[in-house]
Symmetry: C2
Subunit: 333 residues, 2 copies
C-alpha cells in the first residue's frame, strides 16, 4: 500500500512511523511530508532511508492512504485534495465535528468508520481514553452526566513545547527556579508548575481543548445532549495523559460492576486495588489504564476513577493506524 | 508572650518562624522543639539565635502559646500535656474531627475558635482554601453538592519528599528519565510524573487525604450531610496546591454572581478573565487565588473554578498564626 504521512517530523508523525513498523503495516511505498525547514531530513523505515518532501499535488496523487498529523491550517488546505484519491486519516480538529466525517475510536464506533467518504477523523488525545471507558459503561448502565478533569503531558503540545519543558527542567535543576517571565512556547513556564489552560479561551470561559473533549465525546457516544463538563490542565510530565473521570448513571452502580464491565472492554487495562495509572506506567503502552474505581460521594449514582494513556500512542498515532487497519481488513473480507 | 514551636525544623515549622516575624507577632520568649537528630541546630529569629531543644514537661511548662507542626504521633502524645497550661494550635490531623476541638479557618468560623478548651485544630492544607471559597457561596446560594480534584505540591508531603523531588529533578535533567524503581519518600518517583495517592488507602477506595478533605469540609461548614467527593493527586511542583472545585447550588447561579460574592470574601483574590491560579503565582502569597469561574455543564445549577494557595502559608503556618492572633485580640477586647 502506498502510504503518506503529513507532519512526519512531529511527535505524532514519528510515532506513526514507529508504529507502522511495529505493527507490520503493509507499506509498499512511503512518502514523508513536512514543512520547508525539515526538507531533506532523512528517516529510516524498515532499513530504507526516506527523505522529507514538500507537499505538492504531484507528490500525493497516487497515494492510497494518508495519515495527516499536521496543523489545522495544513489539514484544512490539503485534506480535501488528498481525499479525492486516497483514504485520509486526519488527526487535526478541523473535520472532527462535521456531519459527513466519521470521528472514530475503533473499540467504540467502528461501524461509523465504514460510512466514510475517504476521510475519517481521529479524536483529540483526551477524548479517546474517555470514550473508551464511557462507551461500555453507557451500554450497561446508561450515562446521565459526565465530569472530566485532565492532567495532560507536555508532549501533547508538540515538539517545541516538549523541548522547552526539557530546557526548563535543566534550569530548575541548576538554579532552583524558573524566571516567571521566561519565554515559553506554552502560556507560562511548565517545569515546576501546572497550567490550567490548553487552547484559547472561549466566551463561556471554557478553553478550546475542553470544548473539543465535550463535543467529541457527545458525537462519538451519539449522545448529543449528554451533560458534560471538562477542565483541562497541562502538567510537567513528558508523556502520558491522565484524567479524573466522574460519571453518573440512571441508577446506582457498584464499583465492582464497573470493574467487571471494563475488564471485558477492548483496549482497557483495569488495575487492581491500591495500584493506579500514572504517566511513568503508561508511557510506551498501548492500553487505556483505569484505576481507583470507586463511588462518587457527591452524587447518588456516580462513579469516579482515574484514566491514563500514552497520548502519542492510543491518544494519537495508534488510534489512527488502528482505523486504517480496520478499514483494510473490511475491504479484504 | 512565651511561644513554643514543636516541629520547628520542618517546612511548616520554618514557615511559622518566618511569619511570626513578618507579622510582628508579640513573642517575648521563644522555644523551638524538634526530634533528636536536630538537637543543637540553631535558628535566627529577630537577631537572636535559638537552639533546637528536646521536648520535656519541664521545657514546656511555662509556655503560653504552642504551635504544633509535628507528626500525628508527637501531637497525640504532647498536645494533651501542653493544653493543660498553654493555648495549643495544632496542625496535625489527630484532633481535627473531635467534637470538643474547634477546627478553624478564621475567615470562615472564627466564632468556633472562641469555644476552645486550650486546643484549636488547623485544617488540612487543601481543606482551608476549599472552605474559604465554599463558605461565602453557601451563605448566598445554598450548597447542594461538592466535587474536588486537587493537584498538590510536593512540599505538602514534607522536607524529605521535597528533597527527593529536587534530587529527581536533577536526575531528570541530566539523564532524561528517572529509574521507575528509584527509592522514593513518596510511593513512586514524582519528577516527570503524577501520583494519584496521598495517604493510605481506605476500604472504600478513597485515600486518607481525600477523607480528611471531605470530613473537615463538612465540619467547618457545619453541613454534616453535604455530598462531597474528592480526588487528591500529587504533582511535580515544589510549593502551591491547586484544586478544581465544582459546586452545585439549590438553584442556578451565574458565574458573575460567584465573582461578586468571592470578590467580597475575606482572604480571597479573584483573578480576571483569561488569568488563572498557578503554583508559580501563588508561592509566597497569603491569599487564596480563584480563577476560571464558569458554569459546570454537567449539572443544572453548578459552578466550577480553579483554586490555588501557598500550601505552607495559608494552607498551614499562616492559618495557625491567624487563629492565635484572633484569640489574642479577643482577649484584649
Amino acid at each position: 500500500m502506498k502510504v503518506g504521512i503529513i507532519g512526519a517530523t512531529g511527535l505524532v508523525g514519528e510515532k506513526l512511523l514507529e508504529l507502522l513498523n511495529e505493527r507490520n503495516f503493509p507499506v509498499t511505498e512511503l512518502r514523508l511530508f513536512a514543512s520547508e525547514k525539515h526538507l531533506g531530513e532523512k528517516y529510516l523505515f524498515r532499513d530504507q532511508e526516506y527523505e522529507i518532501q514538500s507537499l505538492s499535488e504531484d507528490a500525493v496523487k497516487d497515494l492510497e492512504l494518508v495519515f495527516c498529523a499536521a496543523s489545522n491550517e495544513i489539514a484544512e488546505q490539503w485534506v480535501p485534495i488528498l481525499q479525492k484519491t486516497a483514504l485520509v486519516i486526519d488527526k487535526s480538529s478541523v473535520f472532527r465535528l462535521k456531519d459527513d466525517v466519521p470521528l472514530v475510536v475503533p473499540e467504540v464506533n467502528l461501524n461509523r468508520a465504514l460510512e466514510h467518504k475517504n476521510l475519517i477523523a481521529s479524536p483529540n488525545c483526551t477524548t479517546i481514553p474517555v470514550v473508551m471507558v464511557l462507551a461500555p459503561l453507557h451500554q450497561e448502565f446508561t450515562l446521565k452526566r459526565v465530569s472530566v478533569v485532565t492532567l495532560q503531558s507536555v508532549s501533547g503540545a508538540g515538539r517545541d513545547a516538549l523541548d522547552q519543558f526539557i530546557y526548563e527542567t535543566e534550569v530548575l535543576a541548576y538554579h532552583g527556579e524558573i524566571p516567571k517571565d521566561s519565554a515559553s512556547v506554552l502560556s507560562a513556564p511548565i517545569a515546576g508548575n501546572i497550567i490550567p489552560q490548553i487552547g484559547k479561551f472561549r466566551s463561556d470561559g471554557y478553553t478550546e481543548e475542553e470544548q473539543k473533549l465535550i463535543l467529541e465525546t457527545r458525537k462519538i457516544l451519539e449522545l448529543d445532549d449528554l451533560p458534560i463538563s471538562a477542565t483541562c490542565i497541562r502538567v510537567p510530565v513528558r508523556v502520558g495523559h491522565c484524567a479524573v473521570l466522574t460519571a453518573e448513571f440512571a441508577s446506582p452502580v457498584e464499583p465492582a460492576d464497573v470493574v467487571r464491565v471494563l475488564k471485558n472492554a477492548p483496549g482497557i487495562l483495569v488495575l487492581n486495588n491500591n495500584e493506579y495509572p500514572m504517566p511513568i506506567i503508561v508511557e510506551g503502552r498501548n492500553e487505556v489504564f483505569v484505576g481507583r474505581i470507586r463511588k462518587d460521594y457527591s452524587t447518588k449514582a456516580g462513579i469516579t476513577c482515574l484514566v491514563a494513556t500514552d497520548n502519542l500512542r492510543k491518544g494519537a498515532a495508534l488510534n489512527a493506524i488502528q482505523i486504517a487497519e480496520e478499514i483494510l481488513s473490511k475491504r479484504e473480507q
